[in-house]
């Protein structure tokens, strides 16, 4: 036992139980301790302890632990400028998550990395946003950041496994990120990796792993998905059905197509021997009840819709829109016209829109807007001028502004929205500042800088909201100032 531990033990027991014995002390102290005898035990202890602790304090020696040196590797990319660091500091301390994303994106595009000073704060931002922007942080933290991640279990997500050995030891976020990447280059290998760990994982993890199949889903995934239909977890089973229905030529979709083919019978006859008239006879033709085990409901939840039509509507929503071009033997434009004009098809318009959205059919999206549908989901499938004009249409239709904005955001290429649309959007948001104040930080990147000059022209019609709106205006100016600064430094 060390001298210090001996003294501590004696102090814990108390001098009534344990007396100081000079023999317990080092030779250098013993003569002094011996001179203390004759006093009461408490005084002797206090004096001996004071002397010993000072003796130890005055004789400290370094440790000789032979610690392994662990240095960060040298950087390969250049650091960003000091000015960029000042802006990043403002963003991180001011809690601007979306503008921080924009900063990181520009930094990555400029081929630069963050200086080490702000890495701890940037990691904290990355932890909170890793699901939203996976992989972004890893690209700007450089070798130092990747090295630093080893010191916090929460930061492991930045080191995405690239190799087999790392896949074995990586945590779930890294595996998900890795799988998504692998699905793009080698979907089969990614699926096999999931299958290899399937039995060992819990339901929540199985669900997350299975979700990665939605990237580049293909007919080849069908067999594995069929196996997962026997999973114990209801959520996993539901997800497997959803994924199977995303494969245009999966067995289940082919079955749905067959039912639709049988149920929408097209006949044509000549009227007065001159004009050919096409008739569509719509009648559900079902063989057995197997489809009701695949998520199709057999009873309508709306008394205005018959059960038969309700089943057909669900089936149309699940089948790729291209089915109709082959079934009616005509172009997508004509199909949309038929759904728009023929009484027997009109009621199925929302289902066709649903199918367009489900299979992300961009060309069909442009066509089905003619139904006059207010669907924000369609907006995300559109591009360029069509997109903005449909967004303007949705704005007038009182759609949820959050949804419109989310559909308009393009994080791959965040281009500014046109001036008129931005004006209309802010004008609409100004009517309800309490709901939308928090949205501005996320859309600052898309707002043209010149809008700052027009901000005072927008205000809520209700007087009591104006004070709050005034504060929001100040924030919008700050967001746009920071955005412009980021653009200028990178």
């Amino acid at each position: 036992m060390s001298l210090k531990d001996q003294i501590i033990t004696a102090a814990l027991l108390g001098s009534a139980k344990k007396h100081v014995n000079p023999a317990d002390f080092p030779a250098a102290l013993r003569p002094s301790i011996e001179t203390l005898q004759g006093e009461d035990h408490e005084t002797i202890f206090l004096q001996a302890a004071s002397l010993s602790l000072n003796y130890l304090k005055a004789g400290v020696k370094p440790l000789n632990l032979r610690l392994t040196i662990n240095e960060a590797p040298a950087e390969e990319k250049p650091y960003c400028s000091g000015e960029a660091m000042i802006v990043l500091h403002d963003l991180l301390s001011g809690k601007y998550p979306n503008l921080t994303w924009f900063w990181c994106k520009r930094c990555r595009e400029a081929g630069q990395i963050v200086q080490p000073d702000l890495l701890p704060e940037l990691f904290e931002w990355g932890v909170a946003t890793k699901k939203q922007w996976p992989g972004l942080l890893s690209s700007v933290i450089g070798k130092r950041g990747q090295w630093l991640a080893q010191f916090s279990p929460d930061w492991q997500f930045v080191n995405i496994p690239e190799e087999e050995a790392e896949w074995e030891t990586a945590g779930l976020p890294q595996r998900i990120s890795f799988l998504k990447k692998l699905r793009l280059s080698n979907p089969q290998e990614a699926r096999e990796k999931i299958a290899s760990v399937w039995k060992e994982e819990n339901a929540a993890t199985r669900q997350e792993l299975l979700e990665t199949l939605s990237t580049g889903i293909h007919k080849d995934d069908e067999a594995f998905l069929f196996q997962t239909l026997n999973d114990k977890s209801l959520k996993v089973k539901e997800l497997a059905w959803q994924l199977l229905k995303l494969i245009p030529d999966s067995e289940i979709i082919l079955k749905y197509r067959q039912i639709l083919q049988d149920s929408f019978v097209v006949t044509s006859n000549k009227v007065l021997g001159l004009i050919r008239k096409t008739n569509i006879d719509v009648r559900l033709k079902l063989e057995g009840e197997e489809i009701f085990k695949t998520g199709i409901q057999n009873l309508s939840n709306d008394k205005r819709i018959s059960d038969e039509n309700y089943i057909l509507m669900q089936l149309i929503g699940e089948v790729p829109p291209a089915f109709w071009t082959s079934h009616f033997n005509t172009s997508p434009e004509e199909v949309v016209k038929m759904f728009a004009s023929r009484d027997e098809l009109k009621k199925f318009q929302p289902s066709l829109v649903q199918a367009v959205i489900k299979f992300s059919e961009k060309n069909w999206a442009k066509l089905v807007v003619s139904f006059g549908t207010n669907s924000v989901a369609l907006l995300s499938l559109m591009e360029g001028v069509d997109k903005i004009s449909y967004a303007e249409y949705l704005l007038k239709g009182n759609s949820n502004l959050n949804d419109i904005v989310n559909a308009l955001r393009n994080e791959e290429k965040p281009a500014e929205w046109n001036y008129n649309f931005s004006r209309q959007l802010i004008s609409a948001m100004a009517q309800d500042p309490y709901t939308y104040a928090n949205l501005f930080e996320s859309i600052a990147v898309y707002l043209p800088a010149a809008i700052v000059n027009d901000l005072d022209k927008f205000f809520p019609s209700e007087e009591w909201k104006r004070n709050y709106w005034q504060k929001t205006l100040g924030q919008i100016q700050e967001y746009i100032r920071l955005k412009e600064k980021i653009k200028a430094i990178f």
Binding site: S15, L53, G59, P62, L63, S93, P116, S152
Partner: protein, 434 residues
């Protein structure tokens, strides 16, 4: 410009002032922007009819503004200084106008006046009477303290973690009554120990033996050499008046500001500034005390260097000092400390041999690695010798980020067997760890 943006932000009284200051650090907010080698001044349009007149003393970082804000420095002062640090070219270099000169002169006059006031004679007879009365009270208090210490030791310390906070209050109050605030503070510290940590036993024993040593030394104070007697008096809590300290000859040097820590004690904020003289190679601890929104006399910014004359309090190898005169604020210069941990420890040993009352001593480690090993942190020198670092994970990560495991410079407070880093720097990159 000797002060960097993050250092200016550190001067802000709160985060909202820092944010507002940043928003004002744009040219368009300032109708007038001027600078000289001594000061900055400008006009910022506020909500009133006339613009606010804002001034910044560049030599001894200080602020003045005509705005009604009760925060100090206000957002205008911070904004003006931030703007200057970002874009000095946006300022017209000219002579100070009268309103700026008046303020700078008044600041200088204040220092001179204070020095004059401080050298006024005192009533020696009354002072001696007061001293005698206090000495009696202290002796009485010390006798009681030693009885209390002996009781503690007799019964053993094993049950201390179960004692309520109030247990420590009675002896602490007795020491206050005995006019021994230093001892009162030590007793209070016993109540502030974290008894859930394994280290509590050593911490308690260190404090108890220190109290015993101080009280025992006081009983023999008449036989002690002058400097040791003074040191014992310091420990008991006899204060040396500011006037007395300031009237001594000062030590002029370029003092690098290494750390600034704030400690709240009920209503009082205690600011500890650690300085190091580049020529004299000695440390100084400048304490500033303020209540609520009170303005500190000096704005000392870690990572800068000041040209100043310091007066040290009496004692053995004293650290505590007062700024007698400050001439300029300049750029940080990396100070020379110890490249060898063994040498730093020898220095620690030599100091505590002369002054056994020191628990923590400042030290600069040059070219040491900061390493993590089995969830503990260590400073390791080029010979492989190491010392344990007493530091939170958050601060440790900051050092690792800056150093990348490579050699860096660290300013720390050391208890001999461990070091508590307060600042780290590599090249010109200085990071304070408050």
């Amino acid at each position: 410009m000797s002060i960097k943006e993050d250092q200016i932000i550190a001067l802000a009284p709160d985060s909202s002032s820092a944010k507002s200051g940043k928003e004002l650090a744009v040219v368009s907010k300032w109708q007038l922007r001027c600078s000289s080698d001594k000061a900055l001044w400008g006009h910022c349009q506020g909500s009133g009819k006339l613009p606010y007149q804002t001034q910044v003393d560049l030599q001894n970082i200080a602020f003045k503004c005509s705005c009604p804000s009760r925060k100090f420095p206000c957002k205008h002062g911070l904004g003006l200084l931030l703007l200057y640090s970002r874009d000095p070219g946006a300022f017209t270099v000219t002579d100070e106008p009268d309103w700026v000169l008046d303020w700078l002169n008044k600041r200088n006059e204040k220092v001179t006046k204070k020095t004059d006031q401080e050298s006024k004679p005192v009533d020696a007879e009354a002072q001696a009477k007061r001293a005698e009365s206090r000495a009696k009270k202290v002796s009485g208090g010390i006798a009681d303290l030693q009885i209390w210490l002996r009781d503690l030791i007799r019964n053993g310390l094993i049950n201390l973690p179960e004692r309520a906070y109030e247990y420590w209050q009675t002896p602490a109050k007795r020491m206050v009554d005995a006019q021994a605030p230093g001892l009162a503070s030590m007793v209070k510290s016993l109540g502030n120990i974290n008894y859930f940590q394994e280290t509590w036993k050593a911490e308690v024993l260190n404090l108890l033996t220190k109290m015993y040593l101080v009280s025992e030394a006081y009983k023999h104070i008449d036989t002690l050499p002058d400097d040791l007697a003074q040191e014992v008096r310091n420990q008991i809590g006899f204060t040396q008046s500011k006037e007395e300290v300031i009237s001594q000859s000062g030590v002029s040097d370029t003092w690098v500001v290494l750390a600034r820590t704030l400690e709240e004690d009920e209503q009082l904020t205690v600011e500890r500034n650690w300085l190091f003289g580049l020529n004299t190679k000695r440390f100084a601890l400048v304490l500033q005390f303020f209540v609520n929104r009170q303005v500190p006399e000096f704005n000392l910014v870690p990572g800068t260097a000041i040209q100043a004359e310091l007066s040290f309090y009496k004692g053995i190898l004293p650290l505590r000092a007062l700024i007698k005169k400050q001439n300029n604020t300049g750029l940080f210069v990396s100070p020379e400390g110890f490249g060898s941990i063994e040498k730093a420890m020898e220095n620690f040993s030599a100091t505590v041999t002369q002054n056994p009352f020191y628990d923590l001593l400042p030290v600069i480690f040059n070219q040491v690695r900061f390493l993590s090993h089995e969830k503990l942190y260590f400073l390791v020198d080029m010979d492989g010798a190491s010392v344990k670092a007493r530091i939170s994970d958050a601060k440790a990560i900051r050092i690792l980020a800056i150093s990348g495991g490579k050699p860096c410079h660290i300013f720390a407070l050391t208890s001999g067997d461990a070091a508590e880093p307060l600042a780290v720097w590599t090249g010109n990159n200085f990071i304070s760890l408050p």
